[in-house]
């Protein structure tokens, strides 16, 4: 974003200039009265420098950002924000891109399994086959992403020591443990070579595949939506503050990717339910994401700038295009269906990476922690002043 870089440039020039004139500035500073009014702090002049230091973080570049962003008013005057040398209050998540990839793969596994189970029940063999194989591959990928992101991957099974309702990761582990075997059984059955079909294990698998597959499909909604709680159940402002809308964004994204995958891999005649599922999912994701953006407070800054903004804008465009393609051409043209499916898959993936990145960004600036908490405190004090708590 050129705008932002432009600002930082001028800002750091200020630093550079200051470096050259450190001596002079020292003298300037002494003219500064100690109790400089906070408004002075954002001024470029060296008079306000000392005041800025104790009122603000000294991170002029970030602080001025509040006034930008499509011209909406600043939530709180920047000067009220103070910090310890601009150091972040929170720890940035230790998770890497693999967790964002997991969010996508898990959603795809859930969405595809629903498509596959439905196809199984309604006699659509190609869609069923594509769905189970896609779901299984996505599930294996998500397990890889999850385990390899651990600090001690060889201890991954320690997750299975306990079931903790207060830990979404624990709940999710158990949801996946219920989901996984069904998907595995159904997918392996699709892979049994023709000449083994008549052996007794294959026939047993044949018998079990449908109920097991259905059990997976019943768990799939949990797999699709729990990841939103996984992110929101943290102190990370970029994830915690969107907790009301994120489950709908993620569930929609999972449905769009699952349906899109069916459209990509199955013939047009069989893929009608995949198209409906994808379209409903994509529309739901787009609406929920819009609502999420509208309801964001200060954290909207993170979502509206830089890499997060680019990722999510690209996701929105791809999902919209995929949705239009699904409704208009995917029912008639095989290549149109494939292209729409691909667009939906890419849109879903970028949505996950965008939201993931927003959380990372939001922990790096103390502003996103301190300012909303200050507002909360001020609101509470105002309420207490109006209605003194009854002594009960």
């Amino acid at each position: 974003m050129t705008e932002r870089e432009g600002t930082s440039h001028s800002d750091t020039e200020r630093v550079g200039e200051a470096a050259a004139q450190a001596e002079n500035r020292d003298i300037d500073q002494r003219v500064a009265p100690p109790a400089e009014p906070p408004e002075q702090s954002s001024e470029e002049g060296s008079i306000g420098r000392e005041a800025q230091l104790f009122q603000g973080s000294g991170l002029g570049r970030r602080r001025r950002r509040g006034g930008r962003g499509r011209g909406e008013p600043t939530v709180v005057p920047d000067a009220e924000f103070r910090s310890y040398y601009g150091r972040p209050v929170l720890k940035a998540p230790v998770w890497e891109w693999k967790i964002a990839a997991y969010l996508f793969a898990g959603g795809l596994a859930a969405g595809s399994s629903v498509v596959a189970a439905g196809a199984d029940l309604t006699g659509r063999p190609a869609l069923r086959r594509a769905g189970w194989l896609g779901s299984f591959a996505a599930l294996l990928a998500s397990l890889y992403f999850l385990v390899s992101d651990l600090g001690r991957p060889e201890r991954f099974h320690h997750m299975l020591r306990v079931l903790k309702p207060t830990s979404p990761m624990s709940v999710g582990t158990w949801i996946l443990s219920v989901f996984g075997p069904g998907v595995g059984a159904a997918a392996v059955r699709e892979l049994v070579p023709r000449r083994w079909r008549r052996t007794w294990p294959a026939r047993l698998l044949d018998r079990l595949a449908r109920p097991l597959g259905l059990s997976a499909a019943v768990t799939a909604p949990g797999v699709a939506s729990y990841t939103a709680v996984l992110l929101s159940h943290t102190a990370v402002p970029g994830w915690n503050e969107v907790r009301d809308e994120l489950p709908f964004v993620f569930a929609g994204s999972a449905a769009a990717s699952g349906g899109g995958f069916g459209m990509l891999c199955a013939p047009v005649e069989e893929a009608a339910p995949a198209r409906v599922f994808a379209a409903v999912g994509a529309a739901g994701e787009l609406l929920a994401a819009k609502r999420m953006e509208q309801r964001m407070g200060l954290i909207g800054e993170v979502y509206r700038h830089g890499k997060v903004h680019r990722l999510r804008r690209a996701s929105e465009v791809l999902t919209l295009a995929g949705l239009a393609g699904t409704v208009l051409v995917a029912g008639r043209s095989r290549s149109g269906a494939a292209a729409s499916g691909l667009a939906l898959l890419a849109g879903s993936a970028l949505q996950r990476f965008g939201v993931f990145e927003a959380g990372m960004e939001s922990t790096k600036d103390p502003r996103y922690v301190v300012v909303p908490q200050r507002e909360r405190l001020a609101a509470r004090e105002a309420r207490a002043a109006v209605a003194p708590p009854d002594p009960g």
Binding site: T12, E13, V15, G16, A18, A19, A22, R25, D26, R30, Q52, F54, G58, L59, R82, S83, Y84, Y85, G86, R87, P88, L90, K91, A92, P93, V94, V114, V115, G118, L150, G151, R152, F156, H158, R161, V162, K164, M169, A220, P221, S225, V229, S232, H233, A235, N240, R243, D244, P247, G252, A272, P273, F277, G281, T363, K364, D365, V370, Q373, R374
Partner: protein
């Protein structure tokens, strides 16, 4: 007392966690008004707990070269220079050539580096702060060698400022409702019989969830080790009837260890005393069992707003909103399931026509 299991005041934390016959809850009261910034606590902690060295670097943040709490810093002494005095205290600078502090220069030098460093400065103290990557875009000044002129020599008396130095030894808060403990999926983090929060190193698999669950930014994963690390409130020493190493080493009793109830009373008395002495800005932080984490096991007396020390002003345990989050997720899951069933039903209807 039951209830308030996920947020709100909770008196018997250890009992709630399943310890039937347990000692009283213990904690720290850190009175920062008497801290002299000697860092004996940091050293004692490292020595006793064999916490590895995490970089011997000048961070450019006053005398703070630790940076922040983290996997390899379980006590962290913050230094803040301010152009004012504390209460009616005479800083003793009258007539002396003092000028404003150099903190503004420090903040300007540190700021860009922090943002460009790994994890936005979360690993501060575990390595040097490198010069920002795009040198041309973020030219950062070096602080250079100290000058020989006395600060303030060049100006007249009218330009001189008051001065005070805030120092505070930060530590894990051993929250009543600990975000780290709540989200740990392996049970590695647990509530001890003393009401403290400890990681079991043989269980932790380094999933890193606790790092994002802590509203204070305390716990972190140790690089190369892969497991989460933080203050244990010297669990081993407590078993031996000893006070934690930091409190033992603190020469001014800024760090006071004891039973939490008693510490709270002591803190209230100290606060009243300071207010009487004219230090109106003194306040307790983490003392209140009604706050967002149900009160801290390790709480503080501060002389300025918490954020000035790098502490969140109103931390809330994420678990407080867990019921509503799961309700929303349940609604989203229902919508997802409905869309799936609806897709096949509508396709069947469409095919029949």
């Amino acid at each position: 007392m039951t209830g308030n299991r996920i947020s709100g005041p909770l008196h018997d934390v250890a009992g709630e966690a399943g310890h039937d016959d347990h000692p009283p809850r213990v904690g720290f009261f850190t009175d920062t008004s008497v801290c002299i910034g000697c860092k004996a606590c940091e050293v004692a902690c490292k020595e006793w707990n064999a916490v590895p060295e995490d970089g011997l670097d000048m961070l450019g943040m006053s005398y703070d070269n630790t940076g922040s709490l983290g996997a390899n810093s379980w006590r962290h002494v913050a230094f803040i220079e301010q152009p004012r005095s504390t209460g009616r205290q005479d800083p003793g600078f009258l007539g002396l050539p003092t000028g404003p502090t150099g903190t503004s220069i420090m903040a300007e030098a540190v700021g860009p580096r922090l943002r460009d460093s790994e994890r936005g400065g979360s690993e501060l103290g575990t390595g040097p702060l490198d010069a920002p990557k795009a040198e041309s875009e973020h030219p950062v000044q070096e602080l250079g060698m100290p000058a020989f002129a006395r600060p303030g020599d060049a100006t007249g008396a009218e330009g001189r400022t008051d001065f005070r130095w805030l120092m505070a030894s930060d530590v894990c808060k051993h929250c009543t409702h600990a975000g780290c403990l709540d989200v740990c999926p392996t049970g590695a983090l647990f509530r001890t019989e003393f009401g403290t929060v400890v990681v079991q190193q043989d269980i932790c698999n380094g999933c890193g969830y606790c790092v994002s669950g802590c509203p204070y930014g305390v716990i972190d994963r140790r690089p190369h080790d892969g497991r989460a690390q933080k203050c244990t409130l010297c669990y081993d020493r407590l078993h031996g009837g000893l006070e934690p190493a930091c409190a033992k080493a603190c020469p001014t009793d800024s760090i006071q260890f004891g039973e939490l109830d008693e510490l709270r009373e002591r803190a209230d008395r100290r606060l009243a005393q300071l207010h009487e002495l004219g230090v109106g800005e003194a306040r307790l932080y983490g003392r209140d069992p009604d706050d967002g984490v149900g009160g801290d096991g390790a709480f503080f007396l501060l002389l300025d707003e918490p954020e000035v020390y790098g502490l969140p002003p109103d931390p809330v345990v994420p678990t407080r909103d867990a019921p509503s989050m799961w309700r929303r997720a349940g609604a989203a899951a229902a919508a997802f399931a409905l869309a799936g069933v609806g897709a096949f039903v509508s396709a069947a209807i469409g095919a029949r026509r």
